[in-house]
Subunit: 305 residues, 2 copies
Amino acid sequence: MIDLRRHNSNFCVEHFLRFCRDQVERTIAEFEMFSKTDRLLVAVSGGKDSLAIWDLLLETGYRVDGLYVGLGIGEYSESSGVYARSFASSRSATLIEVDLPGEYGYDIPGGAKAARRAPCSACGLTKRHLFDAAAVDGGYDALVTGHNLDDEAAVLFGNTMKWQTEYLARQAPVLEARAGFPRKAKPLVRLSEREMAAYCILRGIDYIVDECPMAAGNRHLGYKEVLNDLEARSPGAKADFYFNFLRSAARHFTISDTGDAAGLGHCERCGAPASGEVCAFCRLVERAGGSQPVRLSSTRRGSAA
Amino acid sequence: MIDLRRHNSNFCVEHFLRFCRDQVERTIAEFEMFSKTDRLLVAVSGGKDSLAIWDLLLETGYRVDGLYVGLGIGEYSESSGVYARSFASSRSATLIEVDLPGEYGYDIPGGAKAARRAPCSACGLTKRHLFDAAAVDGGYDALVTGHNLDDEAAVLFGNTMKWQTEYLARQAPVLEARAGFPRKAKPLVRLSEREMAAYCILRGIDYIVDECPMAAGNRHLGYKEVLNDLEARSPGAKADFYFNFLRSAARHFTISDTGDAAGLGHCERCGAPASGEVCAFCRLVERAGGSQPVRLSSTRRGSAA
């Protein structure tokens, strides 16, 4: 029996799996994320969330490939790659791989240090760029990520605690494609971290259980602890916080033109959208001591022209 | 030495007291709360915050009387009344007293039970009504309350966690007078709970240290704990949360006409603003088994006519 306090329910295995599928289908429909004819690319880390959403989308008949980025974070990256490849081959699914040290000449621990950026910041920038580029270059209709309710509530919480209104305006389960950026969708926002762990265990999906060693003690994990504390005091508080925001408050915050795609040009090195001559990713690559591979550069410049 | 981590400062006694006065003067000026010619009424509980703001306003030359409401919460109310009276007589200041059991025929523990309301809800409704009525009937220019930064941040946090946009629109350190309601001001919003306790100790002000016994475990105190947790992880987070809201987010939420003074009539029993024939306070009095004293009723109906 799986006990979901937030829903005041107990499920047997079969109904729990159906519950997860229903929540995902409901989210895809409610936010008009994508359809079964679309070609989807899911960003795969080897953790429970990304493997679960890949599995859920394959199970329910979507056309979905995976993308794995090897970040060069020692043993952690090696193991997570093994889980991603193993899942893909068990489902005969297509997994695209990008190897950061091999193709760009830097890894996250060393590159962040050389560029004097916090590791999570350098990693986020790197992944966003590579995911976006792969989705656009591959002609996918949407980039799917495995962000769950806990992730999204924690990001919303952090942005709310600082009242970062520009970020609050972008806090949606689906973002439309803009010049050079793919459509982005988060079909797991109705499901919690704990539910995703249970899903993987019940489906026999092996995933990397450890948190990334570079993330220990970061602010995002602190916000998750605070939200878990609130959830324990008042079950359902986390989902109410996130969904009441979407329902009642999100419309109060609008994306201004500042920094929006309207005013963006193209990076002269890689062709990605950029506010200056060189995009933030290419500046990071340079400061991290790496270099831009010729392949991606020419492809994106070509597609942007 | 008093160590204020949030301000990254240490103060000696003299400069700490000056710091408190400066913060209050700055708040009064910034939010245009009131002037030295105004007649002010401060709501006094006998706790540190209300006695501190009364003291700070008297010290800096404001014309300010106190109002104490005896709520009939056993030993707690008896002690708090003694502290309020003792402070008033030590400053030769005017203290108006309202005795809820004596004048309205109910106390908070029994009345809340009889009316089937949570004690904090019945108490809040009672105090708001009696404070408003006393300020309006007494012709005061503003009602001052001792809400400090911790109080206001906790209220904002609760309203934000539920995204209660109507309440978010009213979250300001000063509210203008509206038909039947007095102007309301909170000059302590730049000072914390801990700072107010230090202020009272250094000024030799005796106050009731215990929390109200009926409030134990309420949600508001839970929000304070969560905010203290965030503050410990990141000093200044609490003030940033509150003041960034006022600066960047408050303008996104506007007071709608629903339930606003525009559509309010007068309670047929006490003359206070009411959306129906009888105001929420008079309904509580009735359900709590009490009765409206003739004095207040006739006064307010007169002033509202």
